[in-house]
């Protein structure tokens, strides 16, 4: 018997620069059961969500239909540390559609990654230079310490770096 797929999903999230002060981040989810698109507009330099809208083309979940009002709850939220708690809190109050809040988070993460990319492009090509580059990154922002396997004790990138005393993230 051929192994026919039971389920397929494709989620595409992208960020575009509209003008010097504006980013547009969109997340499009298409799978066997669902077809939804969420788009947020982000103002620079504050990284504040100035608009959010969505379109649900297909869903089996009634709670995910007509959710533009719920999306408006995130207007004014600043993309940065602590944003997930705020987005979940604001949207959780307004809708039972978990997928929608997740898509807003994906849009926000993509915005952060778009800036991260610019920083990472400055990393030197050679192994030694690379190690130094990332070790300095942790030194300058100690919150990164132990945030992932690459920055955990035992990694060459944090050798000689004094670990913070506490749980670094609230």
């Amino acid at each position: 018997m051929p192994q026919i797929l039971q389920f397929q999903r494709n989620r595409c999230t992208s960020v575009s620069q509209v003008d010097e002060q504006t980013l547009l981040s969109s997340c499009h989810l298409q799978d066997t059961l669902t077809d939804v698109c969420v788009e947020i507009t982000v103002k620079l330099p504050d990284l504040e969500i100035s608009d959010a809208r969505g379109e649900v083309k297909r869903t089996y979940q009634d709670e995910c239909r007509d959710q533009n009002e719920a999306l408006k709850k995130v207007l004014g939220v600043r993309i940065g540390p602590g944003m997930l708690k705020i987005i979940k809190g604001l949207m959780g109050e307004a809708t039972d559609c978990g997928q929608l809040a997740f898509m807003v988070e994906e849009c926000c993460h993509a915005v952060i990654l778009s800036f991260t990319k610019d920083v990472l492009l400055k990393a030197p090509a050679g192994e030694t230079g690379k190690k130094e580059f990332y070790a300095n990154m942790v030194k300058q922002n100690i919150r990164l310490y132990n945030r992932c396997a690459a920055f955990a004790p035992g990694s060459s990138l944090v050798e000689g770096i004094e670990p913070p005393k506490e749980p670094v993230e609230k």
Binding site: S14, L44, G92, G98, F115, A150
Partner: protein
Amino acid sequence: MMMQTFMRNKLVSISRKESDTLFIHGILDDDIYGIEMDMEIRVTNLTILSLHGKWNHWTTPECPRAVRFLQGAVGLRIDEEGFSRKINKLVGRKACRHFANLTLECCHSAGEAALLVKWEDQKGVNPDLTFEAFLGQADTPDMNVPAGASASSAPGPSRPSVQARYNFKEEKGTVSGGMVIDLHVHTSPASPCSSAPVDDLIQEAKRIGLDGICLTDHNHLWSRESVEELRQRHGFLVLRGNEITTDQGDMLVFGFDRDIKGIIQLKELAEEVHASGGLIIAAHPFRGFLTFGVGQLGLTPQKAAERPLFRSVDGVEVLNGKVTGEENSFASEVAATLGLPGTGGSDAHEVSEVGLYATRFLTPVRDENELVDALRKGAFTPCAFRAEKTEAVLP
């Protein structure tokens, strides 16, 4: 022309390997990271049976270490309470958050695929069963968002009543250097992220010479009776505050008696707090904002000062123990631009952190009312208490 600056694609495909097992293949590919994952999940109890990942492209030379830590997710049920949180902790923190992201994508997809599988199985018995009718009798998988959080309908706001005054030595508030209070501390278990029992925190605060601490647990209102009991027992000034999460970030609130749960709009909070005679201080307003590229946005103190949140607060926390020196300096510049007073607080989550930063009051503060009055008058300055203390004892 509108230029695309970043793109992430995730692809999940699921087949039924055996009657009770789903095989899931996930791919995450973006400008920075490329990863793939193979998983097996049991249909009947939605348990992760196996999980293997590999990197296609990555950033640091140590990223490959992440793969071995993926095994932490094996054995979890994808419909168990707090599943997303567990994955973010077990995979995101131990391995890599991008692997955690793909794991969640695969697991959510698997939950939906399991629904389809179960529906098809039931159609074997009842060929006319529609998917909608089937859903009426099936549970949908848990994903991402916790149950809606909301502000509790506690009794309306009121001016804090006069408490029994702490019997401290009057001269303490008048000695050179003023009265130093750590305005931002978290205790366990009131703040789940803290590991500092309140008694230990108070003892440490006394030991290092602070004049008082203010308990500011996350969305937690200490009762007057509990705080009074702590004061009496320790012979030390313990005050009440609250760190409330709003749509504009965390706010330290003083002189406000309503117990807020969940996220509240800052505008709404400000109206209530000010109507009740309380005050709001913007907590660590630039935490994490000036690092990892975002700091290169050209944000100036003048521009940052235009943020609407600063129109709703009475002060800015300009010395916070959990942010970088650069972020504290920036907050200080913004406060100066706005003409708002600046406070200091350790944001201690561990006993050893209390007093790292604090606020020096120029007038005596013996209870909650005097704290609010002193904050309103702006008769205080932030200070790096532990550093000052260390310098003072050095020859």
